[in-house]
């Protein structure tokens, strides 16, 4: 049956190719480019997060990305969790205190002050990172109608993961090919599906000043922020890989014991 199917396929394929060849000029294929090939410290079964890169990436998020992108699923206490950025609890508390969080009603049941401003309080470890915009409409109104996606799961939620994030933020400033017009209010980025991206080029050289002396090139910033967002998506990765190693060692030993038991039990049958 399959042997009969194949020639049919070839004949049909030939016909299809013929039709394609005779068709008028094809529309430009704006499928996104494959992600850039970069190395990350967390690649592979034994890879771990580079703590310095995580802290630098957090700085890039905080000083650049967070102007538009939320980080809804990350709490300040995540910053001092093992397998993560490596901040102390005091440092995490200090970072949290630097954020303003809408306060609960006060003793009089008010949530605004006399002038009508929303009452705020400093963040604590239990708080999540506050979003830059109160709602989707506000986010769109401030971004030419585009909605900047939440970044807490972006590495899990995109094909290519951290490599995709790196490719997108370094994928600007190229000349679009002939025949491609960039939509008004959008930017050309061939690593983005459709090539029109709403986000302006986010990174520039020295957009941040790293305290560890690392030179803040676009490439370095992109790599660091991709590392940080990979952690944000998968904060349990180091724990998972470690547990997996233990589990596999145990299972392999068990399999060995079971194999010899199996051979021993069956030996008298043959």
């Amino acid at each position: 049956m399959m042997r009969i199917a194949f020639p049919y396929g070839l004949v049909l394929g030939g016909l299809a190719l013929g039709l394609l060849a005779s068709a008028p000029a094809l529309a430009l294929d704006t499928t996104k480019l494959p992600v850039k090939d970069v190395q990350f410290s967390f690649d592979g079964p034994f890879g771990t997060y580079d703590q310095a890169a995580l802290q630098r990436g957090f700085q890039v998020y905080k000083e650049v990305c967070s102007a538009c992108h939320s980080l809804d699923h990350i709490a300040f206490h995540d910053l001092d969790e093992p397998g993560g950025l490596g901040f102390t609890e005091a440092q995490a508390k200090a970072i949290a205190a630097g954020y303003k969080i809408p306060a609960d009603p006060n003793d009089k049941g008010e949530i605004t002050d006399d002038k009508g401003n929303r009452l705020m309080r400093p963040g604590i470890l239990a708080d999540k990172f506050p979003p830059p915009f109160p709602n989707e409409q506000a986010a769109r109104a401030n971004n030419d109608g585009n909605l900047p996606p939440d970044l807490s799961m972006v590495v899990k939620a995109r094909d290519g993961g951290a490599h995709y994030v790196y490719s997108i933020v370094t994928g600007f400033h190229m000349t679009p090919p002939k025949g491609f017009t960039v939509t008004a209010g959008k930017y050309y980025n061939p690593y983005f599906e459709g090539w029109n991206i709403g986000m302006p080029p986010p990174l520039t050289d020295n957009a941040v000043t790293y305290s560890d002396g690392t030179k803040a090139t676009v490439d370095q910033e992109a790599h660091d922020v991709a590392t940080f967002l990979a952690w944000a998506s998968d904060p349990k990765m180091e724990e998972r890989k470690r547990a997996g190693f233990g589990a596999l060692v145990f299972l392999l030993v068990l399999a060995g014991l079971l194999f010899f038991s199996y051979r021993r039990v069956w030996a008298d049958l043959h």
Partner: protein, 422 residues
């Protein structure tokens, strides 16, 4: 369950229980002394593996349900909270999500093994039919479960599949739409749908467990088929289930768990779709709605038919067909080992299922070296039905099977059986 019981209570307590509720006797007869053909190979260990998979899904599922919130506004965040805030929540959830794929992997091996060795043939027809029922229940459970994280694929997959019922409109106007609305509990997939799917997802595994009980009960009446497909003729052909098969099953189960663990710990999202880590958004349709891998062959069949109602009938028919397999196969010989012609078409069928799966994973208008995949899927669908409804009956009649060995013992031990058969 069949034959004489060899159970003798070892203590006064056991005797007391046995006279009132012969549960220890049942366990003893089915799991310890049960005579099992001595030539079962690795592919026969998947029954036990599947029972293990069901147990894992139920145990991890119960824990997940303690933390999950079936609410359209909270479900997505609650799953993410399980991953981040619940102690070892990431482990439980990854075992459950990977476990679904491992469950289907095992069930496919189990089903193809049954097809290859003719395990559906008399007197085991009901074992096979109950098995088909379990498979369909598994698909329903998996579908409901995939909706629960309330990601983009959850939402759009649920929309696509439930919309299939609206094709009934083509026979009786409005009936299909009415049924779909009734299933949704709303005019679109929403909070009401999520809640009932959660309820059903919790219910069905226990129904599966019950039907698995029937499956095993039915198995213990005629006993196992075996790779030779010939009946057990003398006690020499069998060994007691314990310790021979308990230890063999344990070893292969452990190997299976190793593969399982590699996915859970090192590629937990291998079987998933990245889109499902984006919260469901009724306003944004993903470019391609792709079901989980284990449903892809059926999805390909559905999509290959341009007319929606016929597509749905083909989809249903592909599953109903399996029920008739015991009677579609006209051969007197069970095992494909002795069926040179059937063996070839069997493997072509296995390849056909993989090809259909590939077609289902690609976008509708995809082509490979200029061949539109929709046509490949059409031919694949044709072969799927042709294999069961045309080839199976005909090959059984025209094929000359190879000579069957006299007995299992003779085949295994390579000498004439010492005890005279029957």
């Amino acid at each position: 369950m069949s034959g004489q019981s060899t159970y003798t209570p070892k203590s006064g307590l056991e005797k007391w229980i046995d006279q009132r509720l012969p549960l220890p006797r049942l366990m003893h007869d089915t799991m310890s002394t049960f005579p099992t053909p001595r030539n079962l190979n690795i592919w026969y260990t998947f029954g036990g593996i599947l029972t293990f998979c069901l147990g894992v899904q139920i145990v991890t599922g119960i824990v997940l349900a303690m933390h999950y919130v079936p609410n359209a506004n909270l479900a997505f965040d609650s799953v993410e909270s399980i991953m981040r805030d619940v102690n070892y929540g990431w482990l439980v959830r990854y075992i459950h999500s990977t476990g679904a794929s491992m469950f289907f992997l095992a069930v496919y091996i189990h089903m193809f093994r049954g097809l290859y060795y003719g395990s559906y043939k008399a007197p085991r027809e009901l074992i096979w039919i109950i098995g088909v029922l379990i498979y369909v229940l598994m698909m329903a459970t998996a579908f409901f479960g995939y909706v629960l994280p309330w990601g983009q694929m959850s939402f759009w997959g649920a929309t696509l599949i439930t919309n299939l019922f609206s094709s009934i409109d083509q026979i009786i106007p409005h009936l299909g739409t009415a049924i779909t609305t009734w299933l949704w509990g709303d005019f679109a997939v929403g909070d009401a749908t999520l809640n009932r799917f959660f309820s059903l997802h919790y219910l069905l595994p226990f129904i599966i467990a019950g039907v698995v009980g029937l499956h095993i009960w039915a198995l213990h009446v005629p006993g196992n088929n075996n790779p030779l497909g010939i009946d057990v003729k003398s006690p020499q052909d069998t060994v007691p289930f314990h310790p021979y098969y308990t230890v063999k099953d344990a070893f292969y189960l452990c190997c299976f768990v190793i593969v399982f663990a590699i996915f859970v710990f090192y590629a937990p999202n291998f079987f998933g779709n990245p889109d499902n880590y984006q919260q469901a958004n009724p306003l944004v349709t993903p470019p391609d709605i792709v079901p989980e891998w284990y449903l892809l062959p059926f999805y390909a069949m559905l999509r290959s038919i341009p007319q929606k109602l016929i597509g749905v009938l083909v989809l249903v028919g592909s599953l109903v067909t399996l029920v008739f397999v015991p009677w579609l196969d006209t051969s007197r010989v069970r095992s494909c080992r002795f069926r040179p012609l059937m063996k070839q078409f069997f493997w072509a069928f296995a390849v056909d299922c993989v090809i259909l799966g590939y077609c289902g994973s690609q976008s509708v208008d995809a082509a490979v070296i200029g061949v539109p995949l929709v046509w490949v899927a059409r031919l694949g669908t044709l072969y799927y039905f042709g294999f069961f409804w045309v080839l199976m009956p005909i090959i059984g009649l025209i094929e000359t099977p190879k000579k069957l060995p006299a007995s299992i013992a003779q085949s295994v031990l390579g000498e004439p059986a010492a005890a005279p058969a029957e």
